[in-house]
């Protein structure tokens, strides 16, 4: 039962009035005036000094009447749950059990399981129960099981373990909402067993429970002030020393607790062996970084781990990463060669750069070995006539996923039967007289021009273009840049798994001064990187992210892959197995080819360190946020789940009866007291 105007309860103080009347007024009425108390005072004391209630019945009638009237003014009403409770009815109970890794702290997990078991034990004979385990995602361990099969529900709870995931309440609540929405039972309840970390709830996450659902939070929040340090990230600084690539690891350690951490140790492990240990001190609510000595990269997929000592929550004390020697992007430049070759600026541009490093080779159109073409990630055709045979080979190269850049100067021709270029080459346009052409209208959304998006990050219009080829873009192409006259300057086309870019002018000084402009170098780098589909491999992933077949491997190798999880499970992620694999464990995932069983990639998986922040929240926030919005209640009303206005009025009509009874009692009181005063 709730009250619309609970402030009226202050009027209960008026209950003292009849008591005082009965104690005082009645006594005053019986005062006898007597000439002198001279003799009465001499009589040994036998009078009644203590005031006492003379008429209990009258007093109780008055008190009851007043209390009922006050109760009526406070407008009591039955909530729907209360109504159901009063009338009985089976419940659909969903137990949401948090299994994020923060539950591994202290005895939280035991308490969480006990609370879940209590909720299951509390099921009535007609109730149904579900168990949903959640961390960053939610998993239905047991769905809407009859209370008679309590053992299965209990077994689902008993089998649960804390995972490496972080807490996210919204998915779990949405799952609970879907289970409850399908239920036909009259009463719905969600038991949310969690440590209620602030980081798990962002507020408006759209998780709404059906109308009339009761959310009962069970908070396990003790021990939040224990010291807890976590390694949140590492940065890898590559360097070269004696022709060997080295990497220096810097780890960031955050202490989110209110106690400072002193006398700790932090160790770097490579390949599972500790190679360096450093002292660690972190003040409360602050962070520090520890840099280890550079480590020589011996080979691909070098597994590194940064580990700090034990504290209240050991899961976040470990941070894994995988580092491999940097792989250069191999570029094949097809140029006419000789002294008049125009690849000078292009080669110089490609020679600069560390991340990634470009390894460029120049070949003439008639001497392009298959091996060069196979190894290359991108090919640049620099204003040469491409014979049909080369054109067909380039077509196959692109279709297999390679990238092709074509600079169309005066000499560029293309075999008409090889459909590879994004646009047909037409007559050159001479802009040596009058105003030189400029490049404008760039598609900054495209990866090639994306670095130049912000102001002052490169002015393409500074380059003067004295000549360009008119090109006619074909179907399915995209014009990424245009000259000031509107003619296309850069056109892209996707062919098979690869891409082709056509630049309608030269990349040397023959037709423009573009190579002399500051934007030339980043443009070339960006274009080649885009064509080679270069992406720096991530040193680590976070639990909850997915692993697909192309992770860390060349596209050609992705066909058949088996993943060996940190716990030793083998999962196939090819056409025979799942498409993707969600990372659920902390450690190293190995990707192996199904045939040769050779390691094709190693992925480090780390826990989400936002979970290390143990700051609790008020569970009521979730209770309030998941209550249905007023509009939703009306919609649910169509399904008979909400109260009609008449029913609402009926549930609030109690005050009327209370008032009537109170007034009747007052009338009875008047009659009784009149009769008493006559006697």
């Amino acid at each position: 039962m709730s009250f619309l105007a609970p402030l009226f309860f202050a009027a209960l103080a008026a209950l003292a009035i009849p008591v005082l009347i009965h104690l005082i007024q009645r006594e005053k009425k019986q005062v006898v005036r007597f000439p002198s108390l001279m003799f009465i005072q001499r009589v040994p004391y036998k009078s009644v000094r203590r005031r006492r209630i003379h008429n209990w019945f009258l007093l109780i009638v008055r008190l009851t009447a007043l209390a009922l009237i006050v109760l009526a003014f406070s407008r009591p009403f039955f909530e729907r749950d209360d109504l159901d409770l009063a009338t009985g009815g089976a419940r659909e109970v969903v137990v949401l059990l948090d299994q994020s890794y923060s539950l591994a702290m202290g005895d939280r997990w035991e308490r969480a399981r006990a609370a879940a078991s209590d909720a299951i034990d509390g099921l009535g004979p007609d109730d149904r129960g579900s168990v949903v385990l959640f961390s960053s995602g939610a998993e239905i361990a047991m769905r809407s099981t009859a209370a008679g099969e309590r053992e299965r529900l209990r077994a689902a709870v008993a089998a649960a373990r804390p995972t490496a995931g972080a807490t996210r309440y919204a998915p779990a609540l949405k799952v609970a909402g879907s289970i409850l929405a399908e239920s036909s039972l009259p009463r719905r309840e969600v038991v949310l067993v969690s440590d209620f970390q602030r980081t798990g709830w962002r507020g408006e996450e759209g998780a709404r429970l059906p109308e009339g659902t009761t959310v009962r939070p069970v908070a396990l929040t003790s021990g939040a002030d224990l010291a807890n340090a976590s390694v949140t990230a590492v940065s890898l600084a590559r360097s070269t020393f004696s022709n060997q690539e080295r990497v220096a690891v810097t780890a960031v350690v955050v202490n989110r607790s209110t106690r400072s951490l002193r006398g700790g140790r932090i160790a770097l492990e490579i390949g599972g062996r500790p190679i360096q240990t450093e002292p660690l001190e972190v003040e409360a609510n602050s962070s520090t970084s520890v840099t280890f000595d550079p480590v020589t990269l011996a080979g691909p997929f070098m597994r590194g781990t940064v580990r700090t000592g034990d504290d209240a929550l050991p899961t976040d004390n470990v941070f894994h990463f995988v580092v491999s020697p940097a792989q250069p992007v191999r570029v094949l430049v097809i140029d006419r060669g000789g002294t008049g070759g125009g690849a000078l600026y292009l080669m110089r541009a490609l020679a600069i750069g560390d991340a990634p490093r470009f390894e460029a080779a120049v070949r003439q159109p008639d001497a392009v070995p298959d091996e060069d073409l196979r190894r290359a990630s991108a090919v640049i055709v620099n204003d040469v006539a491409v014979p049909a045979a080369l054109g067909r080979r380039l077509l196959r190269f692109v279709e297999a996923g390679g990238g092709l850049f074509v600079a169309a100067g005066s000499r560029a021709t293309w075999a008409g039967d090889v459909d590879l270029l994004p646009a047909a080459l037409e007559a050159p346009v001479d802009r040596t007289r009058g105003e030189a052409a400029r490049v404008g209208a760039l598609e900054f959304a495209h990866p090639v021009f994306e670095p130049f998006r912000t102001p002052r990050s490169g002015d393409f219009a500074a380059a003067r273009i004295y000549g360009y080829r008119n090109v006619k873009p074909g179907m399915g192409t995209e014009v990424l840049a245009r000259f000031d006259g509107g003619a296309p300057a850069l056109v892209e086309r996707r062919v098979g798994a690869g891409r082709v870019l056509l630049w309608a002018s030269t990349l040397d000084l023959a037709w423009s001064d573009f190579p002399l402009k500051p934007v030339y170098l980043p443009f070339v780098h960006q274009a080649v990187r885009h064509l080679a589909a270069y992406a720096e491999p991530a040193p680590w992933l976070t639990v909850g992210q997915v692993l697909d077949a192309s992770s860390g491997t060349a596209p050609a190798q992705a066909a058949s892959t088996v993943v060996l999880t940190p716990s030793g499970r083998r999962v196939g992620i090819d056409e025979e197995g799942a498409d993707v694999l969600e990372l659920t464990e902390q450690g190293f995932y190995e990707l192996r080819s199904r045939t040769g069983d050779t390691v094709t990639a190693v992925v480090a998986s780390n826990v989400d360190t936002t979970e290390s922040d143990l700051t609790p929240m008020d569970p009521k926030e979730i209770v309030v946020a998941t209550a249905p919005a007023p509009g939703e209640g009306r919609q649910a009303g169509a399904a008979g789940q909400t109260l009609t206005p008449e029913a609402q009025e009926r549930s609030q009509r109690l005050w009327w009866y209370l008032l009537c009874i109170g007034i009747l009692l007052l009338g009875a009181d008047t009659l009784i007291s009149n009769r008493l005063s006559k006697t």
């Binding site: 019986q30 001279m38 003799f39 009465i40």
Partner: protein
């Protein structure tokens, strides 16, 4: 007239003594006193002192200083001795009523308060004495003198008027006003004190007896309500003192016996102490008829005179 019916032969015997409640309802003290007093013997009380009169009382031997005009020369002729003739002094005496008008007198449980009863009694006595051509006076007091009408043959109406507008006021105390009055009544006469005497018997007697020192004849009426004598209350209540306002919760049933015993002891003590100092003491119950009280008193006075 119902009041006069008390003297008609046809009246029932009990009605002879007039109900004080009925008398109180009449309101006119003059009429009341006349109605009561007319029932008594007209003008026959003898003065307690010897004086110039026509009624011979006795002879006594001559002592130097006696007026030689009173020497009975005929007796000297027969006996050769000087005798003086004594005569009964007739009523030209002073008569004053000293009425206690303290707050405690304003109590009555049967329709008449003690003060009203005393008022009627005073009017009756005054009227009786006035018929004898004696001088009448009146004093009202509580803890001080409130009203004072000096004795005079012409003060009958004044006394009745003062009596009529008396109002009970302050708490009372006997000693102060009575000692003051004792010095005032120089000439010998009859003094009547009417009070409820809510003080210790010793204190009462100590306060009253000085009135006798100048040779006054002193009569004391102790007026009490039947409720004060019987304590006939039933329900437990808070009893409030009329004078002090003090309240005491009382369960009457449990203390009635002790109370009555105490009151009786008080009355007995007063009776005892007043008789020791030769003061006439009469207890008057306000439920008893007034003429009955007068009759009781006057008959006892008669006896005393005869004895003397």
């Amino acid at each position: 007239m119902s009041l006069m019916a008390s003297h008609s032969p046809s009246a029932i015997p009990g009605a002879r003594f007039m109900d004080p409640v009925v008398l109180a309802r009449i309101g006119n003290l003059s009429l009341v006193s006349r109605a009561v007093v007319d029932g008594f013997i007209n003008g026959l009380h003898k003065a307690p002192y010897f004086g110039a009169s026509v009624d011979f009382a006795e002879h006594r031997g001559y002592v130097p200083g006696d007026d030689i005009r009173r020497v009975d020369w005929r007796l000297w002729a027969r006996t050769d001795r000087y005798y003086v003739k004594e005569y009964e002094a007739e009523s030209n005496m002073n008569f004053s009523v000293l009425l206690d008008v303290s707050k405690s007198m304003d109590y009555g449980s049967i329709g008449i308060t003690k003060l009203d009863y005393a008022r009627v009694l005073t009017a009756c006595l005054t009227s009786l004495v006035h018929h004898q051509r004696d001088r009448v006076g009146f004093v009202a007091f509580d803890n001080d003198v409130v009203e004072h009408v000096p004795p005079s043959a012409k003060h009958m109406e004044t006394v009745l008027h003062v009596l009529d507008r008396l109002k009970p006021g302050r708490p009372g105390s006997l000693r102060g006003p009575l000692h003051k009055l004792a010095e005032h009544f120089g000439r010998r006469g009859v003094l009547v004190v009417i009070s409820d005497f809510y003080e210790d018997p010793e204190t009462v007697v100590d306060a009253v007896t000085p009135l006798r020192f100048r040779g006054n004849d002193l009569i004391v009426f102790h007026v009490l309500d039947p409720a004060e004598l019987d304590f006939g209350f039933s329900s437990a209540s808070a009893f409030e003192d009329l004078e002090s306002g003090e309240q005491i919760p009382v369960v009457p049933d449990t203390m009635r016996r002790e109370y009555k015993k105490l009151v009786q002891a008080h009355v007995d003590a007063l009776q005892q102490r007043f008789s020791e100092v030769r003061v006439d003491y009469t207890l008057l119950d306000t439920s008893k008829p007034l003429d009955f009280a007068l009759f009781q008193y006057l008959s006892s006075r008669e006896k005393k005179l005869r004895l003397r």
